[in-house]
């Protein structure tokens, strides 16, 4: 049965991508080959960097429908301007000017409803691309790439999630940092959320926000403490007081950080990592079945 796991954090740089990429590899090794990785960090997707032998299989463009004003029909009544929540429409009656700014438009369709003169038309506006990669193992990687300047992250993320292979048993979704719409969109569809954090005051601050979010959207979650051993101990106190499950700890290691910096985390796997991820995979398998 299909299970979706999102990897989120709140704070950036805690190790979401590291955990996602490793989990993909180890789920393939210890659970099922029908695993797929979705890079939902569409503003800066980078899971691909850790798979130097990846081969692009397909590519498609994602468009949003943006309204366009037909000046021959527009009466410059400004009804559409009043309806637009995003300040995307400029209508200046005195100079007979009417235009939609595509980069502000969220394609909500309100202006089409507002216009009583049939002056609102729609056209395709590119918001990004979805690329699929063969990784040699598993069912591969799907990556969304948002067009620079576009504010349609959530629309693109939803499209990335829709693209998973129907044969997949496990979908891993690498979420963007933060706690706003793109993270909600990535997590909303997940059966379980792994929150990767670091035991510093900064990691704790952002983790608390993310945990509030998870509780609000009623998602089961557990915490992975990455860079374990550094920090001020406040993380442990918080997690204990809140009775939050720590599903794994990855010890802080300069050597590992050096490997990561060369983009080679999957080429230098040692026994410690193997047993860590093996346990994590078994743990997840038990939780999700």
């Amino acid at each position: 049965m299909l299970k979706k796991i999102a990897i989120a954090s709140g704070k950036g740089g805690t190790g979401k991508t590291t955990v996602s990429v490793n989990l993909y590899y180890f789920i393939h090794k210890y659970w099922t080959d029908k695993v797929q990785l979705l890079d939902c960090d569409v503003e800066e997707p980078n899971d691909l960097i850790f798979f130097p032998e990846a081969r692009e299989k397909s590519f498609n463009v994602v468009n949003q429908q943006v309204p366009k004003i037909d000046n021959s029909k527009c009466t410059y009544c400004r009804d559409c301007v009043e309806y637009c929540e995003f300040n995307a429409i400029v209508v200046i009656p005195t100079v007979k000017f009417a235009e939609v700014n595509a980069s502000l438009c969220h394609s909500c369709g309100a202006c089409l409803h507002a216009c009583k003169h049939g002056a609102m038309l729609e056209y395709d506006h590119k918001i990004g691309e979805i690329k699929k990669f063969d990784l040699g193992i598993g069912l591969g990687l799907i990556q969304g790439e948002l067009e620079i300047g576009s504010s349609m992250q959530t629309m693109l993320i939803k499209d990335v999630i829709k693209e998973y292979n129907p044969e997949t048993e496990i979908v891993l979704m690498d979420a963007p940092p933060g706690t706003s719409c793109p993270v909600v969109t990535t997590s909303a569809d997940a059966d379980f959320i792994l929150l990767v954090t670091e035991p510093t005051p900064f990691g704790l601050h952002d983790l608390q926000l993310t945990i509030e979010l998870m509780r609000e959207i009623h998602k089961p979650f557990a915490v992975i403490i990455n860079k374990d051993g550094i920090g001020d101990g406040s993380m442990e106190k918080y997690l204990e007081a809140e009775d939050i499950e720590i599903i794994g700890r990855i010890a802080f290691s300069k050597e590992y950080a050096a490997n990561y910096a060369t983009g080679k985390i999957l080429n230098n796997l040692d026994e410690t990592q193997d047993s860590f991820y093996r346990n994590l995979v078994m743990n997840l398998k038990e939780k999700l079945n």
Partner: protein
């Protein structure tokens, strides 16, 4: 000529606002009549598109020159299309009144 100066407040001794789209007020100065009028910027706290909407307002007001600390790309786009001159002043805590005096001195 109508000139607009972005302002932090609604008085002549208010400090010039460095932001255009998110300025608190606009001082509209009519060079011919010498009359000044302060308008509250309704879009100062909008989530997005503040520059677009304030530029729209400038065109509606028939302004020919705007003075501010800087102009964003969306504001620039509209102001340029309607030939409204953009003047950028540095941050030196000048008041709107002082800027108008400078304009009069020209």
């Amino acid at each position: 000529m109508k000139i607009v100066i972005s302002s932090e407040g609604a008085e002549m001794n208010s400090v010039f606002d460095l932001r255009f789209g998110r300025a608190a007020y606009f001082c509209v100065y009519n060079e011919e009549s010498g009359i000044t009028e302060f308008l509250k910027n309704e879009h100062a706290d909008d989530q997005g598109g503040a520059g677009t909407k304030t530029s729209e307002k400038m065109v509606e007001l028939g302004v020919q020159k705007v003075i501010s600390g800087d102009f964003g790309p969306k504001a620039k786009d509209i102001l340029e299309r309607f030939n409204i001159q953009m003047v950028i002043l540095p941050d030196n805590n000048r008041t709107v009144g002082e800027i108008i005096e400078t304009l009069k001195g020209k």
